[in-house]
């Protein structure tokens, strides 16, 4: 019995097929599992391990390295306030302090109702709009303390569900095409081109040699 629900299991198998080695799908599959559960449950870790042909410990060990992969339950909305250099210069520490008091948790914590997890983020690469905030890895623009409170209310009321889906980064990322170039066909193509290239190189070398003889 698969822990991943039907459509996600199908997407997971499609993802595994994209890579020359199954293990490469490990991180994408973790994103899929989080789309379903919000975090990497032991059941999901087991299934990812089976799909990627590695042990559960290897999945857990890899996942624990990455900020976006959660080995513990998290809130529905991950609110990330960047405080790195560009945002720091734009008042990010003050915004983070305000966010902590609005949500009633310190950075890293989850609200008791399980709706928000607040993160102090590293640079989110949107540095002309500071301080930069992402919710579930969607940019919500530069925030002031006032606009932050509105943002939180809107999220709680479900008014932003179109722009900020619950959990999951790849919710709207769908590959509609499988691999189309057959690996053996590519091998044959490359071998033929390599032969042509070698012939051209030999001809060029011969021409250069003739040229050299003429000069001599």
């Amino acid at each position: 019995m698969s822990h991943l629900r039907g459509d996600l299991r199908t997407r997971a198998e499609e993802l595994v097929a994209l890579y020359p080695e199954k293990r490469s799908a490990l991180i994408p599959l973790c994103h899929l599992a989080q789309e379903q559960d919000g975090w990497l449950t032991p059941e999901a870790v087991g299934e990812i391990a089976e799909l990627c042909g590695v042990t559960a410990a290897e999945v857990q060990g890899t996942a624990s390295f990455y900020d976006m992969l959660h080995i513990e339950p998290v809130g529905t909305y991950a609110v990330a306030v960047c405080t790195n250099i560009a945002c720091l210069l734009g008042g990010a520490l003050e915004l983070l302090e305000h966010a902590e008091s609005t949500l009633g948790v310190r950075a890293g914590g989850t609200t008791v109702d399980g709706v928000f997890t607040l993160h102090e983020a590293e640079c989110l690469a949107d540095c002309d709009k500071t301080p930069c905030v992402q919710v579930n890895h969607r940019y919500v623009g530069a925030q002031t303390p006032e606009s932050f409170d509105t943002l939180v209310e809107d999220l709680r009321a479900g008014r932003l569900s179109d722009t900020v889906p619950e959990h999951g980064t790849l919710v709207r990322v769908r590959r509609t095409v499988g691999l189309q170039a057959d690996r053996d066909a590519i091998k044959a193509e490359r071998a033929a081109v390599a032969q042509e290239q070698a012939a051209r190189a030999a001809a060029a070398a011969a021409a250069a040699a003739t040229e050299g003889e003429k000069k001599a």
Partner: protein, 434 residues
Amino acid sequence: MAITDAPKIVTARLGYDDSFTLERYLATGGYAGLRKALTMTPEAVAAEVDAASLLGRGGAGFPAGRKWSMLRKNPLTYLVINGDESEPATFKDHMLIEGDPHQILEGVLISAYALQVSQAFIYLRGEFALGLERLQTALNEAYAHGAVGSNIFDSGFSLDIVVHPGAGAYICGEETALLESLEGKRGFPRIKPPFFPAAIGLYGEPTVVNNVETMANIPWIVNNGGAAFAALGAGRSTGTRLFALAGHVRNPGNYELEMVKTTFRDLIYAPVLGGGIRGSNTLKAFIPGGVSAPWFGPDQVDLPLGQDEVGNAGSMLGSGSIVVMDSATCMVRAAWRITKFFSRESCGQCTPCREGSGWLERIMYRIENGAGREEDLDLLMDLCDNISPGVAWPPQQTTICVLGPSIPSSIASGIRMFRDEFLVHVKEGGCPFD
């Protein structure tokens, strides 16, 4: 020095609201470069890129053509594109990925043809949820258009491209860590040598890793010729480059400028660019190329935006991000936050980086918060010396990758340029800017 009328090579399409669609891409000359390349021999395409002298746009600035020539001898290879942009205050690749994903794909396809690789991967930073959507959608469109997959445009050339999401780790921008991550592992940089994945790359196969912005330049180079690209800029810095301007300027943003012809002063003060320092403040210092780079003061503002020009002045153009700090900025706080970043993002393999970054961060924190001691300044420099002997530029390395030797840059710059400010923190028992 001035702002030149050099063509916009990578940002030409970004003014359109639908710049990311196939329709707009085709209406503005899209995939013409690929069609042209497919009529040429792979060697001829590579020769054009070589002639352009295109320096890699990721941060290290290694010539793309030379990276490629290391691969030509080996048949079975991968092309991996580094879209893990996470150097603080760098936001150019983010803009290109969301704004013009087809241009990146076309660059990948042309490069893959020149290199005759078997498969390409584009590793995108996981936090780029919209970028992942846009790039995957563009890839789906490109497949349907016949530009990717089997027998591309009936040329007999086939290639698959996979868009791969990361999961939040700065270190995965280091190319060997990126390959580890793409193999489904922790982002641990690999021990060198070999110094380039051209020898042992993805799955142990010869691999070339190029940056997103590097790829975005390739279609223009094929369309207009490598010589036209090399005619822009000066010296080793050819073409245009995207500069990400952040911090205390009136108009922060990404600006595509001809290399070398423009100075930091132009970028920061020109009304059509940075627009000057915000409010009535003045320039205190700026970081010329990402937070790994040593800082510059106002006296260096007339340096040209060129790789060697900045390198010879003791820093680097790096990722092309310029952070401007005005007279109201606390330099201790700025250097502390950058150090905290490195401490959080150290992968943990090498002791000098893992332990050193944490020690440095805690000492910086106590100085900023009034618990510092005068001898802390020497202690900081001593620790920096343990991570990067000599604390010089270019830095010495005691670690597997260059994250370690990047850590001392901000602290050493802060202490050397603003020693008095550190001492005021110590003497007054707190931050004078609070």
